[in-house]
């Protein structure tokens, strides 16, 4: 029987394989469960290349795509670094390109999709990004652009999918695309998302991100399944040229006396419990132990409530709201994005200042309307918690206010990235509001450990002055 390859739920089955043929290929194992040879789908390229090199004839029933011609409606004149990135990727037709937000990752992908000429599946983390990619791709390509996600299942030779939907469909559709593009590809090494890459036979893979590094160090896994880091430019290298020059100002906001009193009381209840229950947060399971212990007694439950209250007060104090109002007035005429740590604070600001709030609760037609109105300048301010952290294009935003955030460096760099799209004469300004003399001080310190923030203002110390000094960074 002749050797044949078949696609099966994210793997390749090999029927009719002879022992001596199999000795030549790697990663093919005998599957006791189905009594046949099996290989991971991601090894398709290597497998087929080896078979061809060894002149072993085979029938390929696995691949369900062929060469396509994607003609461009508009000519692209790449910037020098985009051309360098394209050349670097095309050598292997696999790899990760790291470019800051606003540096034109989508255009780079358009160039490479056209040049590679294979059915392409683009993976994006959110529905907003899916729509945005579709808009840009439709501008450049004649062919219809398919969507997979948000209740839409329309597969076309160029299709944009959310990671979640792609993950559901990869066991069945993992053999229909020759090129995979992973936008915000730092998500890819996640426990589940990695299977969108492992379960597909696509020989060509492009990863795009501003920050390939991951807190868990799994970027090496990203390079295994997507290809190595083939090109990288940092945010400060493009500042003042491709990106707008920017300033970061960290402002320590003192709580109102009533809030301070509440905060101290809640903090005391929480820390007393931690001490009494001997919870050690240095221990790897410290947080889980804390959660378990707080659920075991009424005292513990009170301590947990106190923990939440002191955190909420430091992140969302009324004093911060008052300060935000000052900034809103100071920046009348600018385009401002206000970021919060959670939806509750975002909606509190929205209600208080009667402003549009964009969260995952915002329905699709309204999301599109809000973003459009912000882009056209009809709405000068948009409040959001996390949904605008990544990728969504808001080119005219020039002021960002971080009312509260996590300790994540990535989130912080991404939020800065939202206001850096270059415009003639644009000077971007990012404010971080930090509640004075609270645990938020340490959160702020953790998230600033990135070269984009080197040389920018830092808080002097926990009991320091109310208004920290401005230092300029990244200006041309």
């Amino acid at each position: 029987m002749k050797l044949s390859l078949h696609f099966d739920k994210g793997t390749i089955l090999l029927y009719g394989a002879e022992e001596d043929q199999l000795a030549l290929v790697e990663d093919v194992d005998w599957d006791e469960r189905t009594q046949c040879y099996r290989a991971p789908a991601a090894d398709y390229r290597r497998l087929v290349t080896t078979l061809r090199e060894q002149k072993i004839s085979f029938q390929d029933h696995a691949r369900k795509f062929s060469v396509e011609t994607f003609s461009l409606k508009k000519k692209i004149t790449p910037r020098s670094f985009q051309q360098e990135a394209a050349d670097a990727w095309f050598t292997e037709q696999r790899g990760v390109v790291a470019l800051p937000t606003g540096a034109g990752k989508t255009i780079l992908a358009v160039m490479l999709i056209a040049k590679t000429g294979r059915p392409t599946l683009i993976h994006v983390p959110t529905i907003d990004l899916m729509r945005q990619w579709k808009e840009v791709l439709s501008e450049y390509f004649d062919s219809p652009i398919g969507l997979l996600g948000g209740g839409i299942n329309d597969i076309q030779p160029i299709t944009v999918a959310t990671y979640d939907s792609a993950l559901i469909h990869v066991p069945h559709k993992g053999n229909q695309f020759g090129l995979l593009v992973f936008d915000e590809c730092h998500h890819l090494p996640g426990e589940q998302y990695q299977f969108t890459a492992l379960g597909s036979i696509a020989p060509f893979r492009l990863g795009l991100t501003a920050t390939p590094e991951r807190a868990d160090g799994k970027e090496s896994h990203l390079y295994d399944i997507c290809g190595s880091l083939c090109y990288e430019v940092h945010i400060d290298e493009l500042s003042g040229r491709t990106l707008a020059p920017y300033q970061v100002e960290t402002i320590e906001v003192e709580m109102r006396p009533d809030e301070r009193e509440q905060y101290e009381r809640a903090r005391e209840t929480y820390t007393n419990f931690v001490r009494k229950a001997r919870v050690n947060f240095q221990h790897p399971n410290g947080w889980s132990i804390f959660l378990r212990k707080t659920s075991e007694s009424p005292e513990g439950r009170e301590a947990f409530k106190a923990y939440l209250l002191q955190k909420k007060l430091s992140q969302a104090s009324g004093a911060k709201e008052e300060f935000l109002w000052k900034l809103i007035q100071q920046h009348r005429g600018d385009r401002m994005l206000v970021f919060t740590q959670d939806n509750e604070m975002a909606y509190r600001i929205g209600r208080s200042f009667m402003l549009p709030v964009l969260t995952h609760h915002t329905k699709l037609p309204e999301r599109e309307a809000f973003l459009k109105a912000f882009r056209t300048g009809e709405y000068p301010i948009l409040v959001t918690s996390k949904v605008l952290n990544e990728g969504v294009d808001v080119p005219d935003a020039n002021v960002g206010v971080i009312v509260s955030g996590s300790g994540s460096i990535r989130e912080h760099v991404q939020r800065l990235g939202r206001i850096l799209r270059a415009r003639p004469g644009k000077q971007a300004m990012l404010y971080e509001l930090v509640s004075g003399d609270t645990g938020e001080y340490f959160t702020n310190q953790r998230r600033r450990k990135h070269r984009a923030y080197e040389g920018t203002s830092v808080l002097p110390n926990q009991s320091g002055q109310n208004y920290s000094q401005i230092n300029q960074s990244g200006s041309s």
Binding site: T34, Q329, R332, F353
Partner: protein, 390 residues
């Protein structure tokens, strides 16, 4: 809790949450258990998540007005609201409310009045307290299985129909298994269950699939489950459980269901050739190319000889391809293969069927359901040619 949920239809989510909070605050046991029960009941509750167009329109009006004010373009005539001048927040709010024509308090409460807290409860699927506790215990095990790479099931005395049902759930959950006989007890089967990629990657990817399979295992009369659970910084623990745990499945049993068309076929066969009897309780077959095959039906001849029948419908394209591949590589298999004609629209598959030596001898096509006219000649051929039966 069940009473609270049952009485919540028509209320908003916030009110339901307040009521459940009262029950939970008074709950004497572990708060985590209380929240778990609440979660399971919420899963059975339907909320009105439709977008409210009147609120979107109100928001549009409000934001147009607030934006115009903030940009100093407003027709409201707020004198101080020009770039470079300070305006009080109250003054600003009053100006927006005045333009919209409602009070500031009303405006603030209506502005985001369609957030989940304000969604109305449309319905709740009732259940008994006992049912809820079974569902809770089942979810406890499912929670652990999420953190597993594989699981092993020992079935001491499963019937073919029950096993077939379990394997249907297995296939539905995109899992694979290796089936073997237990060394000590010949009648016992051991199922080692994981997913297609498990042989290459140590992964909990199939944890969700394993968790979804678990309630189907509960249908077995006797079973033993063993799985390695990795929780808390990847520490390994062994989960062992058997039918003594007494958890009841919330999945449907479909053992006794016989499709109408098969009842019809059975009648036709009895009428035309009384020497064959059709039953749905088929045993499994050992084939090369797959450990076992679970045919849909069993035909028993009056002489005691048996031949199984497997039907491939529109949604069985991939399994049909695999099955023909396996059957063509062996000369004797007590199996008739029925193929729905709709599968022939797939040209590649049609070619495979047409060129299959096995199908040419023991295969047949059907449209809605198999007919006696198609099957009888195959049964004759099979009786004449096959020497060794099951």
């Amino acid at each position: 809790m069940i009473i609270v949920f049952s009485g919540s239809v028509g209320d908003v989510r916030e009110k339901l949450e307040q009521s459940t909070k009262q029950v939970l605050d008074a709950f004497p046991g572990n708060a985590v258990v209380g929240r778990g029960l609440e979660k399971l009941l919420l899963d059975r509750t339907e909320f009105d998540t439709e977008a409210k167009s009147e609120l979107s329109e109100l928001r549009e009006k409000i934001f147009s007005c607030s934006s115009a004010l903030l940009q100093g373009k407003s027709a409201v005539g707020l004198r101080g609201f020009k770039v470079g001048t300070e305006v009080g927040l109250e003054e600003y709010r009053n100006a927006v409310a005045q333009e919209i024509g409602i009070s500031v308090v009303e405006l603030r409460s209506q502005l985001y009045g369609d957030l989940p807290h304000f969604q109305q409860v449309l319905g709740f699927r009732k259940m008994s307290a006992e049912g809820l506790l079974h569902r809770y215990n089942c979810a406890q095990i499912q929670g652990l299985l999420l953190r597993c790479e594989a699981m092993t099931i020992l079935l001491p005395d499963t019937g073919a129909a029950r096993l077939r049902q379990l394997l249907k759930y297995l296939r539905f959950n995109k899992l694979l298994c290796k089936i073997s006989r237990n060394r000590d007890h010949e009648k016992s089967l051991v199922l080692e269950i994981d997913g297609p990629l498990s042989m290459f990657v140590n992964t909990q990817k199939y944890g969700l699939n394993l968790a979804n399979l678990f309630p189907a295992i509960l249908h077995q009369p006797r079973w033993e489950l063993e799985a390695e659970v990795r929780i808390r910084k990847n520490q390994s623990h062994i989960l062992k459980l058997n039918q003594i745990c007494g958890i009841r499945s919330h999945y449907r049993q479909f053992l006794s269901y016989v499709p109408e068309e098969i009842e019809l076929l059975s009648l036709q066969l009895t009428k035309k050739i009384s020497s064959w009897e059709l039953t749905s309780s088929a045993d499994y077959l050992q084939l090369t190319g797959e450990s076992v095959c679970f045919p849909d039906y069993l035909l028993t001849h009056s002489s005691g000889k048996k031949v199984a029948m497997e039907l491939f419908h529109t949604w069985h394209a991939a399994p049909l391809g695999d099955r023909l591949q396996q059957l063509d590589s062996q000369s004797h298999a007590p199996l008739l293969v029925g193929v729905n004609r709709s599968l022939l629209k797939n040209e590649e598959l049609a070619e495979k069927v047409e060129s299959s030596p096995y199908f040419s001898r023991f295969g047949f096509y059907f449209r809605e359901a198999p007919t006696a006219a198609k099957i009888i000649p195959l049964l004759d051929e099979w009786l004449q040619n096959v020497r060794k039966l099951l």
